[in-house]
Assembly symmetry: C2
Homo-oligomer: 381 residues x 2
């Protein structure tokens, strides 16, 4: 989808009844998946009975279609049998295939079963609690998807320069393990002999925390630089109190590590200021001093109150989605100066482009297409 939003012609091939994600939540009252509609924006949808040899041959022909802009295939199916890379390569020698697997050995893994293993749920949530807290954002799926987009573009670049296709393999669990290593959590265990603990909503190794306001709202304040720290102290009037705290052995709070060590004392100094103000009052004062902060918002509050989540932000447009209705729809978050922005796109209806793809990509006659329909090898909407 990220590539469709950059203007690529992306064709999604599904079994006649739709893929595993076709009914994934959230869904409308009528059962249409808002998740599927959102993540398939701009793609063409083709329905093929890939359980039958004839359907598999059709799918292979689409995957290996000729042309410099084609022969780029992304799949999370096992690369074996009719999707074996060397088999497909017989049909197009410079094919690029990006294969996403669960674990590197080919065994199954999902975002949920990777996330639990890589440490984060045991350091998320209230200090002192022992139970794991899963993240709700499918972060590993999202990071893996963008890793695949990066890998595909890199392989396409290589093919353009050297003429050769290739297999690009990405394991979801490797994506997560690489992140854990890149962020320093593996070396923290190995070098320091300790590991990050559960710190609630404190920012690790700097200063940041949530605060409740007099109208029952909550906001997050961050001070990960000296500038942000000074702005926070000034806006909330704790400059003198902080000086005293530093002088009585609190440390030097221009240093990230010292602010982190004294985080509870700093939170205690700040609490009354927030408790005495509404969110709007606090916001005005924080913004005046350019403090780095943000409000906690539910999904409803985000949609209702935040101008960034509205057509006031060029990221969004109101778009009609077939079978779903009008909804605020994001485009690509990447803004290219050399290209017109692609307006926010619509997800397809399952099978909407079956005939178009058979006609335009495979150049089948309408008679041949009709025969495929008659035999149930393909289906339109």
């Amino acid at each position: 989808m990220s590539l469709a939003e950059l203007g690529a012609d992306v064709i999604r091939i599904d079994p006649i009844e739709g893929g595993l994600d076709y009914h994934r939540w959230p869904v409308t009252a009528a059962g249409r998946s808002l998740y599927w509609a959102g993540l398939n924006k701009g793609k063409k949808s083709v329905r093929i009975d890939i359980r039958r040899p004839e359907g598999r041959e059709l799918a292979q022909a689409i995957i290996t279609a000729p042309g410099p802009e084609a022969g780029l295939f992304v799949s999370n199916f096992p690369a074996q049998g009719w999707l074996d890379f060397n088999g497909l390569r017989q049909l197009r020698e410079d094919l690029i295939m990006v294969n996403i697997v669960g674990n590197r050995d080919g065994s199954t893994a999902l975002d949920y079963t990777v996330n639990c293993a890589v440490g984060f749920p045991l350091v998320t949530g209230v200090p002192g609690d022992a139970a794991p807290v899963n993240h709700v954002l499918p972060a590993w799926d999202l990071i893996c998807g963008l890793t695949a987009a990066t890998g595909l573009l890199a392989a396409e670049r290589y093919r353009r320069l050297h003429g050769a296709g290739q297999m690009v393999r990405i394991a979801l669990s490797d994506v997560a393990l690489a992140v854990v290593g890149d962020l320093g959590f593996i070396s923290e265990v190995q070098i320091n002999g300790s590991a990050r603990e559960r710190h609630g909503n404190h920012i690790y190794g700097a200063f940041g925390h949530d605060f409740e306001t007099s109208d029952g709202r909550t906001l997050m304040v961050a001070a990960v630089s000296v500038g942000q720290w000074k702005a926070l102290c000034k806006a909330t009037g704790i400059v003198e109190a902080i000086k005293s705290l530093e002088q009585t052995g609190g440390g030097d709070f221009t240093r990230d590590a010292d602010r982190f060590a004294a985080r509870e004392a700093i939170v205690a100094l700040l609490l009354p200021w927030f408790a005495a103000r509404t969110l709007a009052e606090a916001a005005a004062l924080l913004d005046a001093d350019r403090v780095c902060w943000g409000p906690y918002q539910s999904f409803e509050q985000l949609v209702r109150d935040d101008p960034r989540c509205s057509t006031a932000n060029a990221l969004f447009a109101e778009v009609a989605h077939p079978g779903i209705g009008h909804t605020l729809t994001p485009g690509s978050p990447i803004d290219f100066s050399a290209a017109e922005a692609v307006a926010p796109l619509v997800g397809p209806v399952l099978g909407q482009h079956t005939d178009e793809v058979l006609l335009e990509i495979l150049r089948l006659s309408s008679g041949a297409i009709g025969a495929l329909h008659d035999r149930g090898i393909v289906a339109e909407v």
Copy 2:
């Protein structure tokens, strides 16, 4: 770093004292940042006094150096003054600049202050709790970084095909807002008039939950497909109990939505099976039936116990990091068949490549480089 791991020659320009992230946690006892070392793997490090005009001119010359592989610039500094895109373009007309900003209007935002606003912390954690729970993974930063890699590769492709450079702008908050929309959470509010609630560790709209074993470990079980669901029922011996539950109005548990609706009853049926077995015993039985599951592991347990997080996985190698020590280090999670895997790389020492870059990229004489050192415009290690 993702691009350095694909073989790109990535030069990081820092002020003499290092950037804001130079001391970011986790750090060693001696204060070396494991975070910085991890996220700058494979980059060349150049120290320049960018507060002085002469330093800025040097940095501009590196940014706009000639050659088809150069003239690619990524920055999260404001694109103004000496980093104004049109100014830089005077030095290299086909420059590609990727500028990451907080909000689209240029105002500041961090992962923390974006995350609180886009809804997830209020649906993370135990149902019934009201307090927000921040994720610990800097997911928005990671997604934004990979979005930037995708944007850079797309712009480089465009330059290769059409000869033109461009400005590529990405706002961190837009990245998060696009994800919220893509996953269907905006349309859930607008179309359904409701929003996702806090469901603890239940998988939304399917079946999945955590279970404690007799040896005090916890594991996550997922059944997001009929195959996974049948495997789970078989392995844990609840096939008959599930049939009864379905017949007494529990629904049709081959449907995701019905499993989700009956999630508490299903969890209750499964609890005793897990409570009667150690993690190892449960693991053997679950694996025998190919159930989709994973253990919860702390960072220590991950490093100590999981073969995926060891040199048994080709993702990793033991690497010596200067000033830090030997540690298990990941390479790129992308495995290209047409290229030798880049072995896991080492982060630079700050300023390690200053002279090399001045010599090889800017082709300065050693006399000129010496003079820059004398005036404190640049620094080596």
